[in-house]
Structures are given as C-alpha cells and as structure tokens.
Symmetry: D2
C-alpha cells in the first residue's frame, strides 16, 4: 500500500467520492426492512427508472463492479471457445486481469490492431475473416466497444451503426462497456436511447457518475438475459441488501442529477484542454468526454507526479470527475504551465 501525498484529484474519476444526492437517498430509503436480493420496491423503481431513461424495454440487473458487469454480460453470450473482439486499449483487455476468460471459462479476447482507442470497421472486418471456422483457433462471438473510449473519445452514432451492422451481419452480438456512458451521452448531446441503437447488452456504469458503487447490466436483446439471475448469484454479484445498489440510480436518474454531473466532468476536461493546449511541448488528443490525454516533455512528468497523482503511460491522462471544480483545473494547469516554463 503506497499512500502518497500528491493531490489525487485528476488520478481517476473513481478517486471521487459519493455525491450528496445519493447520501440523502440512502438516509431516506436505507432504513426499515424490505425483502432481500432485489425483491423489493426500491429495486423495482430503479429498474423502471433505467427503462424510462432509455425509453426502451430492457432487462436490468445491478452488480457491484464494472469488471463484473462486463464479464457477466459477456459470459451470458460466450461459451468457453468463443472470442471477443475489442480494442487493444479496452479495459477488458488491459485492466481486468483476464476476468472475461475467468467468468466464461476460457473465452478469448481478440484485440484489433487499432491504436486510437476505437475499433475501426476495417480492423473488425479483418478479424471477422481471419481464421473463420477454424476450430483450432476460436469462434468470434461478440464485439465489445467502450463508450466513451479509454482514450477519451466518443463513438459517433454513425460509427456505432456501422460497427453494429458489421457485427450483426457476421452473427456477432455487440456489447458496450459504458463505464463512462453518461459522459458519452452528454458529449453527443442526444437522447440516451440513440447511443444504444444496435447494442445487445450494455455495462452501464454508475460508480463514476457519483455513486459509491453500482453498475447495471442492461440487456436490450432480452433473450440474452435468460437465467442471468442464476449467473449473477453464482458469481457472487447478487447483493442481499439490493436496495443499496438501486437507491443511487433513483437519485441519479429520476431527475437530471446525472446530466448535471456528467456535464460538469466533461466541461472541466474541456477547460483543462483549453488551458494547456498552447503550452509548448504539450500535445493533446481530441477531448470528447471527461478525460484529457496528452503528451508532455518527459522531463516534466516526474516533477508533476510529485504534485499530482496521474497515470503516465503512452499518454499522460487526467480524468475529471463529477465533483471536479474550475479551481482544481486551474491549479493543475498552473502547475503544468510552470513546469513547462522550467
């Protein structure tokens, strides 16, 4: 355990805490007795809120973590010999300790050669053709895409349509990892239902919205939800006091709390980008959601890490959260500027 002194504010959007609306809802609904395991009115109300939010009939299941949401959604589609096509930057591939193979007892991730965070139609097509029908390899069964992506970009509706059509034409299902789904929705400035057209199952992230923890697996292709309750239970993802996974969704979706916070996170990323764009030596990737991915002179990285917590990899990443303030952004930008000016 290495608890460091750097300001954690842009380390990750899961470094943030819980928003007051959720705390208030816990206080309002968290006492008294009700049936466990989801058989209670609050869970029903939260599922209905999600259905209303999407304006679509769908099957909704709350689970504890994004890794579990992704892996259970994929396991409901994949047998052990299947392959999951994804970006090489996908959280699935890079940051889940091979959980999809664990939950499905062997299904393989098949990353494209894309380098920019999105799966491209060309790469999807190439993989769909490679070793098709070869039992010595594996059988491609799902396309998984992340919205917003792990590099801070957002698939347009046209891009989504093209990928979904390609996948479905090849008899693949489409999974969307929506750990930052609301950031994509406000970025595209459309109704949520338009972001899930063609999607069979969505991992809908609540934690990064401002909840303590809660993710929803949302099946728009309702056949895939068959027996999902058994699968969730067996995987240790069925909450006994389910209302505590449900209450935050009520607090977030029944009014526009989700939108207010997502807009703030995205706006803070824009602010940061605008603030540092002109600094010599800084190159910023397009900012479309709540993250800023940039490169900076290597000599700046370590001094900056002593001041701020962030993850330098191929890019330096700064994530803005529901509660990031203009002052936070300004303080970070000022430090970057100062270090750049040596």
């Amino acid at each position: 355990m290495t608890i460091d002194a750097a300001n954690p504010h842009f380390g990750s959007d899961n470094y943030a805490g819980v928003c007051p609306e959720v705390l208030d809802a816990f206080r309002e609904h968290g006492g008294g007795h009700c049936a466990a395991y989801g058989d209670d009115p609050l869970t029903k109300r939260a599922c209905d809120a999600i259905r209303a939010w999407f304006d679509r009939d769908c099957e909704v299941f709350f689970v504890f973590s994004g890794t579990a949401a992704n892996s259970l959604a994929l396991a409901s589609i994949c047998q052990s010999y299947h392959a999951i096509i994804c970006s090489p930057k996908a959280h699935l591939e890079e940051d889940e300790c091979n959980a999809p193979a664990f939950f499905s007892n062997g299904a393989r991730l098949l990353p494209t050669n894309d380098t920019e965070g999105k799966v491209t139609p060309a790469e999807l097509t190439r993989l769909l053709r490679a070793r098709e029908g070869d039992i010595h390899f594996s059988k491609s069964r799902v396309l998984s895409i992340t919205q917003a992506t792990e590099l801070g970009s957002v698939y347009s509706r046209d891009e989504l349509r093209t990928l979904c059509d390609l996948a479905h034409d090849a008899d693949l299902m489409v999974h969307m990892d929506g750990a930052r789904f609301v950031n994509a929705v406000v970025s595209l400035d459309v109704h949520p239902k338009e972001v899930v057209e063609g999607i069979d199952v969505l991992s809908f992230g609540g934690t990064k919205m401002g909840m303590p923890l809660s993710e929803a697996v949302v099946f728009f292709n309702r056949k895939l939800a068959e027996d999902f309750e058994y699968r969730r239970k067996q995987a240790g993802q069925l909450a006994s006091k389910m209302r505590f996974l449900a209450i935050p969704w009520i607090a977030m979706l029944e009014d526009d709390t989700w939108r207010r916070y997502a807009r703030n996170a995205n706006a803070r990323a824009q602010q940061l980008a605008a603030r540092v764009r002109a600094i010599p030596g800084i190159n910023i990737r397009p900012v479309e959601a709540n993250g800023v991915f940039l490169t900076m002179p290597p000599a700046m990285v370590e001094p900056l890490r002593r001041l701020w917590k962030f993850y330098p990899s191929e890019h330096v990443r700064f994530m803005c959260a529901w509660d990031t303030t203009s002052e936070d952004v300004e303080a970070l930008a000022a430090d970057i500027e100062r270090l750049a000016n040596g």
Copy 2:
C-alpha cells in the same frame, strides 16, 4: 418480482437496512478524492481496525458479498479436483448456486450426514477416511464450518478445537463462514480472537451487522493470502471506490457499535423464544444466536405467512436483526399465540 404485503421484519437479518453510524461515517468520509482500489487511508484504517479487533496479525480483503467471500477464500485453497467438507445445511451447499465450484473451476462440496447444523467430529472423521487417495473421487482439502450455524446454534470453543485439530491432522485447511460471526462472538461472550483459534481463513460478515454491504476475507494463515489481490480483481470483487467497503468497518469496530447491535439481535431472539416456548404445538430449537428455528402445526403456517414474511422449510425460521425491537417481537409473538389458540 413478488413484492408482498406481509411484515418483512423477521424474514431475514439481511432485510434490515443500514445503521445510522455507518450513514454518518459515509457523510464524514465519503467526499473528496483519494486513491482507488484500496490504496487509500480509510481502507488501511479499516484493515487495521480488524487486526486490532482480533488482536492478531492477519491479511484482510474487503469484498462485496458473502458468496464471494466464501468462494474466493475457498478458491485460494482449492484446486479444481479438491473437495470441501461441510454441513449439509451450509450456505455453501444450500444457497450459493454452486458458487464454490464456479470460482474454483470444479471443487466439490462434500456434505456430512449431520442433520443439526454443525459438522460433528464423527462425520468429519468418516469423510476423511472415505475414498482417501482415490483419484476417481476428489481430494478433501478444506473443512468449512459456519459460525453461527445456519440453524441458529454456535460452536463452542471446544467443538471448534476438536474439529480444527482433526482437519489439520489430515492436512486440511479450515474455513469459517462468519456471515453472523459477531452474533457468535457475543453469544460465546469471549474475545473475538478466541473464536478463530485454529481457523485458517474467515469470511467475516459485515452486511448483517448493519452495513449496506461489505464482507471481509480474513486470512489468519497468511500464506493463503498470496496473490489474493489478483484473484479478487479477476473475480470482479475489487471495489474501485474501496473506501465505501471500508468505512462501515471503521464505524462498527472502532467503538462497540458491533457489540451493541449483535447483542440486541441475539436478545430479541431470546425474547421471542421465551415468549412462544410455552405455546402448545410449538417446538423450539436451542437459540444461541439471532435466529429462532421452530416447528409449529402446519395449519398455522399459511395464516402466519399472510401476516409475516418468513421462510418455512424443515423449520420455520425467524431472524432478528440489529434493529429489531421488543415491540416487533411482541407483535409477532402475539400473532403466533393468537393463531395457536385458533
């Protein structure tokens, strides 16, 4: 979803909500930014609180659910070809949708023929000898016992010592399912460390204590904890905002909140037993923790279920929770009495 009108109060101790101390701690510690995935001061403080509480060095990991705590603890011991000896009433065997086999990719539950909720030395000895070394069967590797048991009883320290010695002599590890561990501790009226003598790994239940959700896997045999962080991550049991699993333990263990609530739950069970014991047709099992298991004339069951939520199986079960009141007990007892008197 069947949301019924019966009073849920004795349905299960996980029908209860969150206690005010935890809500207050969420408000106190739930804002601001800190590192994710457990690399934060609150998680460290909660782990230290557990170590202090047991007055033992041990490895502590928070997970989301009791099923996950049990299965991950067992998977850290078992290979796919191993067997787990347990009571036929064990939650593992009866209520986890074969999760231990899922997490360990095949390990088998080997229930004894005990009928009273506890594993007995005679049955453990019998199973240890049966098919020992027979590769066509499986290799016994763990004894799992539940404290307090699924039938409301509590293993004495002598019983625990005998079972642990038998298991260890046969090169088995001992796992304790402590979903209601604090109820056992207050029942035995000893220091917690005395209840885990000989135990290699404990699933320490927080949810039923009064938390929204949080379970701790506590390795007293620290070698078993090797790489457990990878295992937890891969299984989707690593909370990003880990502090929300940790904060409740701080609220519960740093002062005597845990004891106050566990004593209340146990006392309410005693009150209920005392209140209905003399009613003709009612036979009560010994009450040692927070549950009352009894038999009643079959004709009483359905009318009572219209009034109160409970699970009738071999026995009728009434569970008392951290927040059960004397008035709740009195109301239930009065209904039982009235129905018994026709």
Copy 3:
C-alpha cells in the same frame, strides 16, 4: 503404484485388452498418410457406421475417454449454474473426480435418493419440484442415466420412456452414459435405436467393447451438437490422428463383432451367477448385463482378494469382459465355493 499378484480377470471390463479384429484393422488402415483431425475417409466411414447402426441421423464425435464423453456431452447442454440429476451410483457422481463441474465451470450433480442404481420416476419428480426456480440453488437442466447401470441392471424401454417424458416435460435434456451400451442392447435384445428413443445425447462406450480406447459422443438432438467441434478441441479431446479412434468402430460395427463380444460378456456374467447362486451366504443382485454384484460373508472377502482382483464396496463386483472365458468363470466360482465351504 501397487501392482498385485491377484488374477485381474474380473477386476473390471477395462482390464481386458484389445480384440484381434481391431488390431487387424489397425494393420490394414493404420499406414499411409491422410488428413488429420477427422477430415479423413476412415473417420467419415466410422461415423456413417454408427449412424447406420442406430438407423438414425445423428452427429457423431469421437473422444478419448468415458469421462470426457460424459463431461463434454453435459457441457454442451449445461451452463455453470445448471444441475444434472443422476443416480447416486452414477459414474458421473462417484468416479469422475467432479469432471462435469470442471468441464462446465460449475454445474452441479444432483443425485436422487435411489439406492438401486436406477433413477426412479418418483425421485426424479421429487427433485424436479424441489427448489424449482430458486436462484440460490441451481437450475436442473439434464437428466443423466446410465445404461447398463453401475449395478449391473438395465433400464427397460418402458422405464426409459417414462423418465424421458418426465424430463422433457420439465424442459430437461436427457443424457445417457452408455459406457456399457452394447451390453444393454444385447440384454434387451432389441434394435439399438430402440434403446435411445427419447435420448438427446449418448456417451457410446467403445473401450469396454474391446477397443484400446475410443468413445463416441452421439447427438440425436442435433441442435446440441452446435460448435461441439470447438468444444472438443479446446478440451484436448481432438485426436490429430483421428483415424485411430475411428478404425475400431469400423471393425466393431460393420459386422456383428460388437454383438458377439457383448453377448459373451453378458453370458459369462449369467454363468457366474448361476454357478454361485446356491452357495450359502451369497446373495446376488439381478444380473442383466456383464457384471455380477453380490454380497458374501465378510470373512470371505480378504482371502478371495488374495486370489482375484475385484472391488468390494457395498457389493462385491465381478465384471465380465469381451474375452472372458467359461474357464475363467469356472475358476473364480470354484474359489468362491471353496472359501464359502471354509
């Protein structure tokens, strides 16, 4: 490794070697080059021979072992949260080191309380009703029955029809473990197709017929065979030189070799039963296939084990093989008689 001196002849029907017809076929077809992994004329011919033998269209896949045949057949039906109803004496339950859970990543065996080797309609019905729809348990998905059974009996066609109808009515599939399928066929004296009416998938045993090793997974419900080739490959059950699993079936089924040997094995069991039935202290279960299951005075068991290899459990078991001779039987019977007479 304990290689003992006792005559192994009745130890098991897999103690026998390879029959000359198969050796001759290996010599005839085992040289020269042909495509691997089953894409060769001999494999096609063997599959056709099985289809002709059953006079039914079906999907046929050769695998190496009975455990694999059973587990892969079941994995093609079961998800990890499913249950497989079977006899408590089933090879699946007693002798496969929990392989079904390994191959399916968690599916549970759910043995009936039957004690006589067969699953009975009453027990099947009881289990179908117990905890139906309870996600905390598991979902029953397959009935697995063994023909001939592990206790030497054979399901009649009426018994099979009743069980299959009960299973299918409850939306379960039916698997038949046919490690000794040909012994059942000659015992019932019917066309093989009549023994698989209502069966969705059969593990058709070749090894005990007189092959060195080869088992066929035969899907009469052809939808279940979808992608089975991937599953077999991934499980390490795809032979590169597949013809060596196929050739023995050609040798056995294209003429009546199978029948001749199965009849011999069954007849030798009848001979043994007839020979020892009248001996005081010997109680013989009904002999319907190639095994004799009896009880004898405990004092006789050890002296007999020094002379003959056999497995004493609840019953003493003597298995007759394709090559067992009248002289072998007579020698065993004489020893039993001598020991019984003190």
Copy 4:
C-alpha cells in the same frame, strides 16, 4: 468435412500413420488382462523407459493429446490470474482454441513480439518488466517455449540456458512444448537430457514420432507433479486401458526406433530444402528439424495445392514425417520445380 484429392504426404507430420514397431508391440502386449488406469506393469515399464532415456529422475504421466499435455502441464503451474509468456507463433497461442485458459480457468497467454518462432531474451525481459505487480493485468508465471519451434528451427543449448535463467530469476517456471522433441534432439545431436536442462515440465510428443496417439507430461521439477493424477483424471485424460498409451513408448525408446525415424524425418526436410533452394522465387527459412518453411510466388500456390496438401500461411509449410521417403520428396520437389518454371 472436405476430403480432398491432393497428396497428403507433406500436409503435416500427424497425417502419417502408426509405425510397424508399435503395431507389433500392440500385438505382443495388447491381450490378456491387467489393472486399469496405469496400475499395470507396462505403464511402469514405459515410465521407466522415459526416465532412463533422459537419465534423470522425473514424474511421467501419459495423456491423449498435445493440447491436453500442454494445458495440463500449464494448469499444474498456473492459477486463473496468471500469464504464460510464449511466442506469437506458439501452438498454444495459435492452434489450441484457448485451451490453456479453459484448463486453468482464465490464465492468459502473453505472446512476445518475436516474429521468428523463437522467444528472444530481449522480448522475454521486456514482458517480465511490463506491468509487473499490476493486479489489473495478470501475473507472469510461466515461460513456454517450443522445441523444435513452429517455424522449423531449434533452440540451441545456449539459447535455452539464457531463457531458463531469465525466467527462473523472475520466479517463473519453464514449460517446453515438445510435440517434435525428438526432431530437436537429433538435430542438436546431443543426449536428450541436455535439451531439458532448466526445463521444469515437458510436453513430450509421441504421436508425431509414429505412435497412433500418446503424449507424455514429464515433470523434471517434481514438486509440480503433486496431485497431477487428480488433475489428469478430472480433465478426462486418464486412460482406463492405459497400457495402450504406454506400449508405444516401450517400442520407441527401449531401442533406437525413435532416433531412426526422427533422423529420417529431419533428413527428408534437408533433402527437400536442398532440392528446391535454387529454384527462382523460392526462399527457404533455415531447416533445423523436420519442416521446410518457404515462400514462393503467390501464383504457384494454388496450382501446387491441387497436387499436394499443405498449409500456406505467412510461409508455405511442408512437414516430413517418420515415414517420408526420398521418393516422396523427389515427387514434391519436381512439381515445385515444374510450376516455378511455368
């Protein structure tokens, strides 16, 4: 099933059949009764023959297929969260339908960026450092190398020593996929024991030597063999009539049959290479074992495939087998020459 008319002779070394020495041994040892599951004198003799051949104490287990040998060997080392470093050309990665993840319930293959068939020290070092200790990725636990490689080359003893030292220094085990181990041994012209220095576990291929099927998992690091018998049984890889997996090893190793056939296969590859090397447009990779990997003008490929079965991928591959004759080679070479000359 696409049974084609092209001459299969160079399609793969597993297109070849069984050698006469093995057939004769089957006839000699394949009758009569002996204990099943390996508890017989022939299995003991074959294991001893392998130990004598390596002149080392080691644990030996026969299994049915190369995929199973590799996956079981790796599962005996890996937990579900581990990673296996290998070449991107490894059979493990390219041709086993993700079996390692299936057998280990999730372990991940981590291919190097090497393109020439061998793992290089530079790439191994790079991967050992990348994301070390990062629980969000996976923990590297094994280096798997193939000897002879999938591109027809052979690791020198120095190369092996360097890789094994690097791996062991990083606390990794080393697995060798020896599907064509004897071809490497005769190529290096050393005692077999010198090819396994530093190797913890070897998948020792029998099938391609000239057996119908049999692979040996050989643990030189004997601790890894603990409980392997359970693992093999559970995975459906325990032969009941084990002698039929053992007899071929007796036939091959007790005299120099293995060497004679391996030398022939390697010599035929050299002959083919020598014969076509000078043909314009043909570029041959170094030939060190029994395969010839070359590139040819694309226009030649399809006409040649109508005559000969082979697998064109990045390279055109021609495999020579134990029974390949000079005349076979000459016929193939003549066709290549003719097509090259238009």
